[in-house]
Point group: C2
Chain length 258, copies 2
């Protein structure tokens, strides 16, 4: 048997080969097979050691916020209590925040313990990719200046629907990326528009922090967020929000007050 | 036996009673007794779910930085890779940062899973208190605006020497708190000077995030940090830095380049 949590699994030596064996075995024997209609998918990683987020990493998003193009990646964080899975409810207290926004993001999943890796070797240390919605309480985020509180309310980091391993995605920097709220497309871009590319981000982070198996890096959001629209569009009770990335999947969540 | 990690231990039902029994048993039988001279103390919590930090929470520290007294607690975060224990080395790459600063802080350790707790019930949910050094790469912190990178280099969150449980500290808001670098006292204040008190901080955090057993809340630093001195004082290779809080203990670390 393999580890129970994704960070533990990714910390196992030769996890890729073990997982391949398990998948082959399952396909041949039906062992571990589940009915997709009846299982509840959880976030593919529930308790990473850290969620590193990159701000201002698509130039048109930098511009819509009236910011300057950053010289280095701008890192911030979300606490892991924010993680939730596909099809779950994102619920918030309307007295705490009235400005809840969506942000579709490509999320990198670290595969190996990594410190000070060169850009050209960075992706060797990734396990794969998933989709994140970097849900943001804009009133809290901008009132605090430090972004972590407004970015970390419970349920404000939907992840999923699954991790696509590094070998299965042809080019993670050539994928369309979008957000739809109640079926209306509000973000529509491509990961080819990243200012700092994946290699640069992983290397930059690893210069400061030891990256651990299961750590998640959110690579920033394209233009079209609700806060910078005229008039602004914020998520409302009973909205459905979907973020998606070509080749990885779509991640749908329902909004509610609590 | 009890859990192997502190967050797991604190998540056990009735951990206080179990721990009391274990301590009583150890005192009576010598079971589990160790020679204090030969053991290496690690940080009392190595992998908390989150490290929540409070900025600008002593008025004279607010003033020395030329800031305004905050209306609400300013939260930021450190990644858990930053945690290190007593007597360890805080090592950094001098090409990454040349402005490493100390910050003595009272750290709260969450005991129970807690959401939206009222201030008057907040301390019921704490396991205890420890000492933290919120080591800060000022050049990175101020260049990024978002503080998490400069606050989270490996080893930049010494914790310890131990957790003093909530029942053992008479008044955590009436303790002297200090920093000494190579024996010279550079911070010298009292936790009675906190702008937002412990009850308020725990309640405020729990309004945004579910607090989990083992989560750590750093309550802010008093005046006297190196960055705001004339001329500034930054930690140097081979410095010894000690932070201490009356009734909890002192936490000594050695500085080095790597």
């Amino acid at each position: 048997g393999l580890s129970e949590t994704m960070p533990e699994l990714l910390a196992e030596p030769r996890w890729r080969e073990k997982l391949d064996l398990l998948v082959t075995h399952a396909a041949e024997t039906g062992a571990g097979e589940r009915d997709a209609e009846t299982v509840e998918l959880l976030a593919p990683i529930e308790s990473p050691g850290k969620i590193i987020c990159v701000g201002l990493n698509y130039i048109e998003h930098v511009e819509e916020g009236g910011q300057e193009r950053p010289e280095n990646p701008i890192l911030f964080s979300k606490f892991t209590n924010a993680i939730t899975g596909p099809d779950s409810e994102i619920a918030w207290d309307p007295e705490l925040t009235a400005e809840v926004d969506y942000e579709a993001e490509l999320a990198l999943v670290v595969g190996d313990r990594t410190r000070r890796v060169a850009p050209e070797e960075a992706t060797d240390h990734l396990a794969g990719y998933t989709v994140a919605n970097d849900v943001s309480a804009r009133d809290l985020q901008f009132a605090d200046d430090q972004w972590v509180r407004g970015k970390s309310l419970d349920g404000f980091c939907p992840l999923g629907p699954s991790i696509v391993t590094e070998d299965e995605l042809d080019d993670p920097e050539a994928c369309s990326i979008w957000t739809e709220v109640n079926g209306e497309r509000l973000q529509d871009s491509s990961t080819s528009n990243l200012i700092f590319d994946i290699d640069t981000l992983v290397s930059f982070c690893s210069d400061a922090f030891t990256l651990e198996p299961g750590d998640v890096i959110l690579t920033g959001t394209p233009p079209g967020v609700g806060a910078f629209r005229e008039p602004p569009i914020y998520l409302q009770d009973s909205d459905t929000v979907e973020v998606g990335i070509e080749g990885i999947g779509t991640l749908t969540n329902h909004c509610g007050h609590d």
